[in-house]
Structure formats: structure tokens, C-alpha cells
Symmetry: none
Amino acid sequence: MRALVVEDDPDLNRQLGRALEDAGYAVDSALDGEDGHFMGDTEPYDVVVLDLGLPKMDGVTVLERWRQEGRDFPVLILTARDRWSEKVAGFDAGADDYLTKPFHTEELLARMRALTRRAAGHTTATIECGGLSIDTRGARVFIDGAPVKVTSHEFRMLSYLAHHQDRVISRTELVEHIYDQDFDRDSNTIEVFVGRLRKKIGTDRIETVRGLGYRLVDPVARPVS
Amino acid sequence: MRALVVEDDPDLNRQLGRALEDAGYAVDSALDGEDGHFMGDTEPYDVVVLDLGLPKMDGVTVLERWRQEGRDFPVLILTARDRWSEKVAGFDAGADDYLTKPFHTEELLARMRALTRRAAGHTTATIECGGLSIDTRGARVFIDGAPVKVTSHEFRMLSYLAHHQDRVISRTELVEHIYDQDFDRDSNTIEVFVGRLRKKIGTDRIETVRGLGYRLVDPVARPVS
DNA sequence: TAAGTTGTTCAGCACGGGTTCAGGGGGATC
DNA sequence: GATCCCCCTGAACCCGTGCTGAACAACTTA
């Protein structure tokens, strides 16, 4: 975990830095707004502690610029003045948390834990398989970046195959995961869907294993079976 | 945006509820820990305001149980006592923010905005989506800079879609986040709102995914990945 | 009270897409 | 190589989903 501390009081800055290092962070520090802004702009921090009253560039301005430039690390704001209008301005500039001086180090650490915890919860929801990418949350399919239009049942089926790629999935297993209740056994719906999918994403991406089922594979890097 | 307020003081509870409703949230409230825990356990809230001193079940316990059960909505903790050890306990139980009574309503709202923003992975108060910008604070919508007039329900819906843009949002998810408690299942209100929104912001900005739901997209720069 | 907003309901329509069917191809096994 | 069975494919059917216009109800504002 990399942390940046932007605080103009050298004593407090050093004290914070040491506390964070003890807590396991790799810490950089800056003593004014311009330095702080530059560092946050060039290094990928996991969390930033930012004082509002800074020389050269105001803390709110620093934060606003970062956000405009697309930096989205969590930022915790510090200020000596307990004016709630400033807090509101800080939050609306894109701050994630706020602490009024003086504060207990334990509280700062606890808040930072909360910040990094939540920031780490962002998981990408796309499954990759040799140029084929499946956005499970957006229900979209791309093949080498180009969008492919699939219907909801086709998507469910492809998504299930992708979750278990390189494994053979039986027809009944597919049916059970696509349909809620049971379903007419002697029907060739699954085959029809496989056919339609193959037409859309390429014939060689779904292998059929006679008598067993289907398997989603990466067509170029064919594994030695 | 659905919010839950768990606060045993009936006056404060009502006051908070009204303030949040004015700010555009659909609010449920609970007056003790057990009720609060149950509601948070069964309904998909976007943010929760939780008092620590509660009858029947302590606030920290409520929060710990939610986290154990996998509820990951952002939680803002309230307490009358300004003891930082309690704050630390609250954070480590999984709280995302903390506010000491008494507080300014504006500060609470700013913190809640920051929480919901962060939960959705955004860091600014306005959400952009290909020429469409949504001011979550002022409840305004602009398209290429020109203001678009939307009603409050339309705004809630668009706002929720924008918080989760590129994701497919089911009709029930929309209903659950726009209306407080349950709601007539077989009603086509959502479709009507989608239709009206499309008429205002452009047909191609809200895609319908048959059988799954709706998705807010940038109509020109179709994302690649 | 009248006029204007805003939210909800209803009915009709269009069409997408899931399902079915019939027929043909091609492994597998002997 | 013959036979069987599994699988593929194209097309047609038809039901359900979603869209739309309009009317109605609830509520605000003049």
C-alpha cells in the first residue's frame, strides 16, 4: 500500500509519515500544494492524506485538479479549522473522508483502513478467453474489442461456459443453469443456441465433445489434450 | 437511491428522514437495532445511517452482523458520545464514515454523497456519460451543456443508471432503488419512465436488454474492452 | 377553484427471440 | 465400408416482452 501525505507542518508531516510506516504503508510526503499535486499526478498511490491549508496551492484546488485529471485514489482531507462549509467544499471536490485536527492517530489509521478496504473492492467483472471478452455485469460480449450482439439466453449460456472454460459442460448442466425449473428433456434448444453462438463468436471457440457436452476454448493457444 | 436510517430518537429519526427525502433519497427508518438489522439484511440499500447507541441490539453489533452476512452497502455511523475508541471500533466493524452529534445536515448530506459516489466508483459530484452530465447535487441534467428538464422520479432513475453505467440494471433493481418499500410488481411504470427519459435525452442512450433490463451507455464512443 | 405538473394505469400493437421440427451431415463402432 | 446415433442447421411458428399514446389520479400552484 502506497500512501502520500501532503501537509505543510514539518513536524506533523514527519509524525504522520512514521505512524503510517509503522502501519505498513510505503509513504511519500510533500510539504506544499504544488509538490503534492505533482506527486499525486505521477505516482499511483493507494490512499492520500491531504491538508486543506497549504502553501502555493490550496488543498481543495489540488484535489479538484486530481479529479479532473482522472486520479481516483481515495483522499482523506485534514484541516485545522472546524468549519463545516469547508468540509462540504472538500467533499464536493471529490474527497472521500475528512478529519479535523487535532485527531488521534488511531482514528486516522482506522479511517484509512476503511478507505483502502472499499477501494480494493472494485473487481473487474469481465472474463477473458483468447480475444473473447465477456462483461458479466453489462451482459455484453466483445471479440477482439468489437461488440457482438447476443440475446439474453445466449449470454447466459456463454457466460456459464466462460466461467468454466476448458472444462466440458454437459447439456443437462447447461440446461440446469440457464433455466429455472426443469425443462423438456428431449429438446434440441441447447444445440440451437450453440449453433447461433458459434455463428457469432466463431465456430472454433466452442468445441463439442461427442456424448459429453461442450467446451469453451481459446482457439489459437490450443492446449495439448 | 435508497437509504436506511437507524436511530432510536424518534424526533431525530423523522428529521433525518425528511432531510434525506428532500435530497432525493427513498428512505426507510428503524427505531431499534433488531429492526434495523433485519431491514438492512433484506433490502438492498445504497447507503445506511446507523446510530451506535441503540436499544435491543448495539450499533456496532448490527454492523458486524451485516458485514459477516456479506452486506456491503456503505454505512455512516452516528454517535452522541465523542469517544474516539468507539469510532475506531465502528470503523473496524466495517463502517465507512463517522459523524458526531450534533452535526449540520449539510455535512451529513455531503458525506452521504461522497459515500454513494465512492461506492459506485465515482469521485466527482457530476457523472459524465458521453455528453450527458448528471449533477447529483443539484439534481440537474445537461446534454452537451444544455439543461434538460426531468422530474424527480426520472432523475432518480437516470441517476441510478448513471451510477452504474455500462451495467445492465434489471427492472426490479430499478424499482427497489427508486421506491421505498414494496411496490406493485406487475406495473409498467418503469417502462413509461424509460420511454419519457429516452424522449428527453435521446433514444440511443438507454439500451434495453431483453429479459434482463436496461443499460445507460455512451452512444458514440462504444467502449472497447 | 381552475390550471398545470407529475406519477400511475391501461390497452393495443409490433417484433424480438425462444422453441420446435424436419432433414442432412459426419463420427464412432463393428 | 455400412450402420447407427449424435449433432448441426435452416426455417417457421408463436408467445411474451417491451413500447407507445392517452387517460386518469394525486398534488401544487396561481
